[in-house]
Symmetry: C2
Subunit: 297 residues, 2 copies
């Protein structure tokens, strides 16, 4: 089976790093990911640069890319202003995310979950008119740092609302890395019944990320977010840590016979390069352990 | 469903650490694990202390335990001399491990896989006569650092041999952390057909450990090894890293509705204590992220 892997490293991966990388370096990261075979990535975040300085210069990132026709470059947006910036900057895909809890929605984007869901419908309509792809992500779908456990019925309720004006994909995000595979199966299965393409976005905060990824694929998810090197975190979620590492995910997917189009050795090289750029070891494990090759007898 | 978790931290977890903990501290680790609800653990390793100095003083560890009647204290053995030491030291359970490849068997215990399998039958017979439980572990069952991929048929061949004089459990070990869930399902399913109780032992070298654990349970495994804090590695396997962290595993199992009898909060306390004893951060993630509790709104 083919699994689409979206590298969110240039956005989710870097938005919480102490060291701020320039737009040129973030564009180079995208170019390197494309060179390793990634066909989808979140290249930039069109959020308020005063609130998330790591993501300042989204337009400069887009302009500095060596764009390849086979690669879809996405931009994260949280509101209409961000949407307009993203489209003006020439993204191939808009990714709109909103939290399913009011406590998180207020902190993360100064809105309520209900209002944010209404905006999803408007943005999908605008994206259709503008001819760009659009995905909608339900954040904190597996648990909220402020409200605790999130009932599946609440998530599925928002998913049903989104599916009324269906985006190209609906992504379930475990923003703070608390989900477990049984939860994944329930939610992915439930959203899949709505007739939309389902993706998942896992953080590895409690080491459940890859187990959740396997469960998601088993339950019918077609798209998985990951970040090269496993960098990441959310500026507005206490103690959130990185996404599942793209190279760890690819190692697992290839081992299970799935196709991704990604060259694992090249991707490990990107993780090593990013580790150098950030001046620290990254959380991913495969880039440290290496592709499995027997040593000489 | 109830899943039996065996903490191998006092043995597999510590045998590759630079800092050598005294027998008294290792016994205290066992006592703390018992206090957190662990009912099974590998308390000591009856190997040659010149080759693995971290494990020297196995008899002193056993003597220093505050033994609880409800807890089974096991000792790892690699040969008959080790078996005799373990039984003399009063272990409740002998765990005998042998590699399924000759290259690893030669380096790890100076034998061949075939000879080591023959020893399994003798040790099971002796354990029956001595009235101690015995498990047999097939090491490098998912891949060998010297021979590469290990064919499932090779593993199942050794499993069939072991099952002829069945131990209380047969454990499949991914010593170098290369396995993926599809492989786990195949091997656990195959060994389960032999009518023996199947356990699994995973290392998280490539971040596949918990995904493999979920696959193992799904395929019928009843026992899972793990090490508190995720410490570990093998002195004779290049670049091997730690076992899956017991607290990460317990977080996942409880989240999926499985019972373990373990108190996660107490177990996290043990990981924190061990981190202090070793003077370093451990690989486990849940002990850093904490049990999922919403922060104040």
């Amino acid at each position: 089976m083919r699994v689409e892997v979206v590298d969110v490293g240039p956005r989710d991966g870097l938005q919480n790093e102490e060291k701020i990388l320039s737009p040129e370096v973030r564009a180079e990261l995208c170019d390197r990911l494309a060179g390793a075979g990634l066909r989808r990535m979140e290249a930039a975040s069109f959020v308020n640069p005063r609130l998330v300085p790591q993501m300042a210069g989204a337009e400069e990132v887009m302009a500095a890319l060596n764009r390849r026709p086979e690669v879809s470059y996405a931009g994260l947006v949280l509101n209409e202003r961000g949407y307009e910036r993203a489209v003006a900057a020439g993204v191939d895909e808009v990714r709109y995310a909103f939290p399913v809890t009011d406590s998180f929605a207020r902190r993360n984007q100064n809105t309520t979950a209900g209002e944010a869901a209404g905006l999803a419908a408007r943005l999908v309509e605008r994206a259709r008119l503008d001819g760009v792809r659009i995905s909608v992500t339900l954040s904190v779908a597996f648990g909220c740092p402020f409200e605790g456990r999130v009932e599946p019925e609440r998530v599925l309720g928002f998913a049903r609302r989104v599916a009324e004006a269906p985006p190209d994909e609906l992504i379930l995000a475990d923003t703070i890395g608390v989900g477990v595979p049984s939860q994944v199966e329930e939610l992915v299965g439930g959203v899949g019944e709505l007739g939309v393409t389902v993706g998942c976005h896992f953080h590895d905060t409690r080491n459940t990320g890859l187990a959740n990824a396997v469960a998601a694929i088993g339950a019918g998810a077609a798209v998985l977010d990951a970040s090269v090197g496993g960098t990441g975190g959310c500026p507005f979620a206490p103690r959130a840590t990185g996404n599942i590492a793209t190279e760890d995910l690819v190692y697992l997917l290839h081992g299970m016979g799935h196709e991704t189009g990604i060259d694992l050795g090249s991707l490990i090289g990107v993780a090593e390069w990013l580790s150098g750029q950030l001046g620290k070891e990254l959380p991913g494990r495969v880039y440290k352990a290496g592709v499995f090759e027997p040593v000489a007898k």
